[in-house]
Amino acid sequence: MISVFQQHWQELLTGLGNTILCSVIALFFSLVIGSTFAIFEVLPSKFLRIIGRIYIEVFRNIPLLVIGMFFYVVVPQYVLPMDGFTAGTIGLTLYTSSFIAETVRAGIQAVDSGQMEGARANGLSFMQAMWHIVLPQAFKYVIPPLGNQFINLVKNSSVLAFVAGFDLMYQGDMIASATFDTFNTYIAVGVLYLIITLPLSYYMRYLEKKLA
């Protein structure tokens, strides 16, 4: 395993960098999209509630691989060309946003309804109250589950290997098929994934205990 690191540290490091890059980009956009649909779900408008529900249920119940492959093979054919990294990151963003929407919605609903009523009574509009009063409190509840979503995101980013996204899993697969040393290469790749996910996972467990 050490020799894999010694001989292929450059490829592995590139892969690790791409995995982190794609995870951070996908986290940012899925937070934006996920929170938007979470707000849709608590809006008074029945139409937007239904739109929010459909979006969440569709992307939660279809495999990430299907979504990622759709952007890798279908979209470039008919809509616009994109590389594997972009296609994979878009797929990852859409998939994760549905889980984040569920998490944020639960957070919003955990905030006492008196907060919204108080804000409205003080003259704030619905969106102002949501943005300044409810969401900041909701995010406190959802930090540990969001952290766990991020860990899932990092692990799920391995589907980039299917779409030539040059992530850690893809690089590992390339090294493995070039050297035939599959056993040690995959262990090395596993160690690199654990370097990202394990500290995060312990930190989230600590936060959960602290906030509980």
Partner: protein, 217 residues
């Protein structure tokens, strides 16, 4: 629209359905095996048996924090190096069972921890042994709390069987790729079929679960 009519011939459709059957087969076997192993490991982790619980805990944390895809690769391409050779179907089930057992163990542990400690104390005060208290008082209550996270885990498992396409397991995703590989005009119809088939299976499971939740809750 013409490409839909061309793509959805009975032969193609039957080919996909056979794939769906493989998907369901792998899912059901993995769900059963990992529920048993996960329950067992979760209890071991909860009872804090010296050394054993600690070691089990570390192994669970390591597996949970790895991508399932890596475990599938390792099982099918890595293990033959040390003499363990498996068919794609066995390798997929083995990798999924190992991964899901670790995930379920964590769900079981937090489910048991969520049961009020007074329940166990009350059981012991009424003359039940520790194991009886766990079996008849704590576990049934924990199970009720575990249903929602367990169901989302099972849904993830069904979706994740699509990753086994990389080790040429002839499941739904793999077969769809074969069909649209013959003719690019079949791409959109195949992705629609994939989305619909996976959605129906996963959404049906979540509906059954929410009904179950209402009945026991």
């Amino acid at each position: 629209m013409n490409s839909f009519a061309e793509a959805y011939t009975w032969i193609n459709f039957r080919f996909l359905l056979e794939g769906l059957w493989v998907t369901i087969e792998v899912s059901v076997v993995s769900i059963i095996l990992s529920s048993i192993v996960g329950l067992f490991l979760g209890i071991i982790r909860y009872i804090r048996y010296p050394v054993v619980s600690g070691v089990v805990g570390v192994i669970i944390d390591l597996i949970r924090n790895l991508p399932l895809l890596l475990l599938i690769f390792f099982t099918y391409f890595g293990l033959p190096k040390i003499g363990i050779r498996m068919e794609p179907l066995t390798a997929a089930i083995a990798a999924m069972t190992v991964f899901e057992s670790a995930m379920i163990a964590e769900i079981v542990r937090s489910g048991i921890l969520a049961v009020d400690t007074g329940q166990m104390e009350g059981a012991r005060a009424n003359g039940l042994t520790y194991w009886q208290g766990l079996r008849y008082i704590v576990l049934p209550q924990a199970l009720r709390k575990m249903i929602p996270p367990l169901v989302s885990q099972f849904i993830s498992l069904i979706k994740d069987t699509s990753l086994a396409t990389i080790i040429v397991l002839p499941e739904l995703m793999y077969r769809a790729q074969i069909i649209y590989g013959q003719n690019t005009r079949y791409m959109i119809p195949m992705f629609v079929a994939l989305a619909v088939l996976y959605f129906v299976v996963c959404y049906a499971l979540s509906l059954v679960a929410s009904r179950l939740e209402k009945r026991v809750g």
